[in-house]
Amino acid sequence: MTDRIDDLIHKYLDETLTASEHDELATQIKSDPQVARRLAEVACLHDRLRNLVSLDQDEQLSAAQKPAINSASPARRSVLSMVTAACLLLGAGLIFWKVGSTPAIAAAAELQRIIEANSTLESRTYRISSLDSLEDEDLPVRGGQKPPLDGALLHVRGSEEYVLERFFSDGTRFITGSDGQIAWAIPPRGRVRVSRDPERFRGAVPGQQHSIPFIDMRASLEQLADAYELRVDQTIAEDGTRQLNGSRRSDASGGPKEVTIWYDAESGVIQRMQLSRLPRNQGGPRSVVLELVEQREMNDEFFQHSSHHSPDREVIEDER
């Protein structure tokens, strides 16, 4: 093996290759099995090294220059995850091995009850909380600042009408919504944009960028039944809620890894919904909670942009 190939392999693992070097290495791997083999050998050592260094830090790396590192460093978490992967297999055997087991059937039946209970609801308002410090980045705003999702209010009626209010720290709002036919976006200042594509401006709605039709509650819950392994916790909390947990099936793609629903044990109405470990390749927070604030009558006008800005604002139509 040439020194050049070795250099490329090591630089690849340390992520310091240039684009042309990356292409060169890929070409070599495809044309020479020995290069692929060499990379495999070095990667094995690289991977094992990573696991060892964090697993046995006290014994192996307790030299005087050891910097202060908290116990939840990325490497430590990595090893825990590795262990988790093995444990998961054991745990999964108990939880998922038999899809038709009693808990799975019970959870599916409970979900059906929740679907029925929530499909009949008219309009409702949720408060959104981000569980991490990352800010919503889905909706580009000319001029810089992006409205945070944390603390936002989502008003929903039926399967297509919604209003999402996001609040800047100075108290101003960025409002997006749709009446089912016209979508619109109202920044704190400047022109109001409208579009005949009802899906336009929906990017910021939790789950939207991950193909979770959260606004359409029935579709959203039915998707849970299709793509998630479900289990229900029979315990009823002091506030009268029960918990339904969903873990995304390994053959399903997109969406959060975990979904937890707290619903009224008696009526089945969802009180809170947590979406955890959302894919972040399209921005947005990693985990969010949507909490039911109120159910009240909302008229047609509420879902039209004119109800949310002064009449002197300029309104322009988007090309989309």
Binding site: D7, H10, L13, D14, E15, T16, L17, A19, H22, A26, I29, K30, P33, A36, R37, L39, A40, E41, V42, A43, C44, L45, H46, D47, R48, L49, R50, N51, L52, V53, S54, D56, Q57, Q60, L61, Q65, K66, I69, S73, P74, A75, R76, R77, S78, S81, M82, A85, A86, L88, L89, L90, A92, G93, F96, W97, R249, S250, D251, S253, N281
Partner: protein, 174 residues
């Protein structure tokens, strides 16, 4: 736990180091690697009934790993520096064909790691414990990024030679 789950767990435990290394060779972010590895573990268990015991388990599970890695890469197709499908396939093949002795001899790595001193030890810690890239390490310890990259390469080579020596010694004893 039923017998099939026990068997799946046994096989997975044995194969995990090579699968993990394969994933790490494509998914270089350690956190993402862990996520992908978990997906592979669950997928392997979910479909274990389809595994033909006449075939090597590593080849079968590597097929699952390729699919999961493929899913991951598709989500990051905007990144320029990721391998294409053909390259990933060639790598998966290479990992599948690694002799078991190759991963087993790495058991000596812990012993070799203890022997590291000074700057080499520090580099290992910064790279593998703190997940720092050469440029960040360079800032911490006052070297050039290129110098750090070269030094890391030398440390890994030193460890590889140590592992080889230990393996040879133990082979001679046994």
């Amino acid at each position: 736990m039923d017998e099939a789950t026990r068997q799946a767990t046994r096989l997975w435990t044995k194969t995990q180091p090579v699968v993990s290394a394969f994933v790490a060779s494509i998914v270089r972010d350690f956190q993402d690697r862990d996520d992908v590895l978990q997906e592979i573990a669950v997928a392997a268990l979910d479909s274990f009934e389809k595994y033909d015991p006449e075939r090597p388990f590593v080849a079968w599970v590597m097929g699952i790993a390729r699919n999961q890695v493929g899913l991951y890469l598709r989500q990051r197709r905007r990144d320029r520096l990721i391998f294409d499908e053909e390259t990933t396939h060639c790598l998966a093949q290479a990992f599948s064909e690694l002799p078991e002795t190759e991963t087993r001899k790495l058991d000596a790595l812990a012993h070799c790691l203890k022997a590291l001193e000074g700057r080499a030890r520090q580099l290992c810690q910064l790279r593998y414990r703190e997940d720092l890239k050469p440029a960040s390490i360079a800032e911490r310890i006052g070297m050039s990024a290129n110098g750090v990259a070269k030094a890391l390469q030398r440390v890994r080579e030193q460890l590889r030679l140590c592992v080889e020596r230990t393996d040879t010694t133990e082979g001679a004893v046994s």
